[in-house]
């Protein structure tokens, strides 16, 4: 092995890479929030009485879970152009991940709703609560606890998915910044090892934060 490693140039661009980390976390958070909102709607649509809504939700969920995330991002980035909708790579990546998140989270929420015994709603209704009030005060808090860790998990997966921004030319997130410097110097291994370490730290930091938050939140 007569390759000599050069780490200094990598550490010189550390500020830029850390700024990329922020963009990465931002995209992950954004696509998780959107995914949760759509996921709840899909879960309710799938279980609700409306036939058309149930079919639509099922189609979204099955399509989202049975095709690659990268494919979904491509579809948003390249495919929507056919409808005259040209998203930039940031928006396309966020939308693609959000689409993927919604499909998986919808099933998580559906399972969570089924895990709460129907006797809970009955008890709430017997105290004079309306159905929406019972859902908000009794079902939702319990559902939140059940789906909390799956949701955190999905957010961490979203962080990892943001690296796919490379394939649609995003150059502001961690992977994109890394690639930007990589093509200038071709120190691929050095740059991407540091990027890998940063991704690892982001994932672990999120896990840790979520544990602390859970400890504060769920006292029962």
């Amino acid at each position: 092995m007569n390759y000599s490693f050069h780490w200094r140039p990598v550490f010189q661009v550390m500020p830029e890479m850390l700024a990329g980390c922020l963009v990465t976390v931002e995209i992950a958070a954004l696509s998780t929030v959107i995914g949760v909102a759509i996921g709840v709607a899909l879960a309710l649509g799938r279980t609700g009485g409306n036939r058309a809504a149930a079919a639509f939700a099922l189609a979204w969920i099955e399509f989202g879970r049975n095709t690659p995330g990268l494919f979904q991002i491509y579809l948003v980035y390249f495919g929507l152009g056919s409808f005259g909708l040209h998203l930039n790579s940031y928006a396309a990546l966020t939308a693609g991940i959000a689409f993927n998140n919604a499909s998986y989270l919808a099933e998580t929420f559906r399972g969570g709703l089924r895990a709460i015994p129907s006797t809970q709603t009955r008890a709430a209704r017997s105290l004079g609560m309306s159905a929406p009030l019972a859902f908000r005060l009794i079902m939702l808090p319990q559902l939140f606890r059940i789906v909390y860790y799956p949701m955190v998990n999905q957010m961490i997966l979203s962080v990892l998915m943001t690296a796919l921004g490379l394939t649609v030319g995003l150059d502001t997130d961690l992977a994109g910044v890394t690639q930007h410097f990589n093509v200038l110097t071709y120190r691929t291994f050095e740059y991407f090892s540091v990027a890998a370490a940063l991704y690892y730290l982001i994932a672990k930091a999120m896990m840790l934060t979520s544990r602390v938050v859970a400890w504060r939140l769920f006292r029962y």
């Binding site: 092995m1 095709t67 494919f71 152009g81 990892l160």
Partner: protein, 216 residues
């Protein structure tokens, strides 16, 4: 040359890409499962710090984006002086990545076998090997199979990422056709349908097994 419609030839080209996707998946699943079963049994039967250390190392593969892993190995192989094809690198990365997940599936499945059941088996005079093959494996298999099917499908979908290092699998071949025909929606639609047709029936079968076994 600049015929803008998607020809039969293009579809054939994409199907060949799908073949590469399946081949990648095959090697990833075979390699990942072999390593995963090995590591998983190790983790389940040898507690303490070796198991913990192995778990921590494998966790790295689950906490770094797969695309970054692919880029890293692709860059590192020539540094080590290996002259291997992109396809081989793709298979290796996907297999190790799969092993990181498979290990946890195997470990959880083995640990899910209740201790009293195993003690009862041993008290009946079954040997350690009998206990494993007659009691632990059949039960653990039922617990782990749905997760393993999910993992295999996950690897199939994740194999799309190796287009970055130049492997012409299904998604990359679709992209090539898109570039030529300028019909992204149609071409990606065909690609999506192929992915779906591979994944959906297997996912359904997995869910069916899971339901059936839960009822018992």
């Amino acid at each position: 040359m600049f015929n803008a419609s998607v020809s039969f030839h293009d579809v054939l080209f994409m199907l060949r890409g799908a073949g590469v996707t399946l081949l990648l998946t095959f090697w990833a699943v075979v390699g990942g499962t072999t390593l995963g079963v090995l590591f998983g049994l190790l983790r389940a039967s040898a507690p303490g710090w070796p198991s913990f250390a192995l778990g921590a190392v494998l966790d790295v593969f689950r906490s770094v984006p797969l695309l970054i892993q692919i880029i890293l190995v692709n860059a590192f192989a020539p540094i080590l002086g290996f002259d291997v094809s992109a396809f081989t690198i793709a298979c290796i990365v996907l297999a190790v990545y799969g092993a990181a997940y498979c290990t946890e599936i195997v470990r959880a499945s083995v640990l899910a076998v209740p201790q009293p059941t195993r003690r009862a088996a041993r008290s009946l005079g079954l040997t350690w090997a009998d206990d494993l093959t007659a009691i632990v494996f059949p039960i653990a298999l039922r617990v782990g199979l749905p997760g393993w099917i999910g993992l295999a499908l996950g690897l199939m979908k994740d194999s799309a990422l190796v287009l970055w290092i130049g492997v012409i699998e299904l998604l990359r071949s679709s992209q090539i056709v898109v570039t030529r025909t300028q019909q992204p929606l149609l071409v990606l639609g065909i690609a999506g349908a192929i992915y779906f047709l591979i994944s959906f029936p297997i996912a359904r079968a997995g869910a069916w097994f899971e339901r059936r076994w839960q009822d018992q």
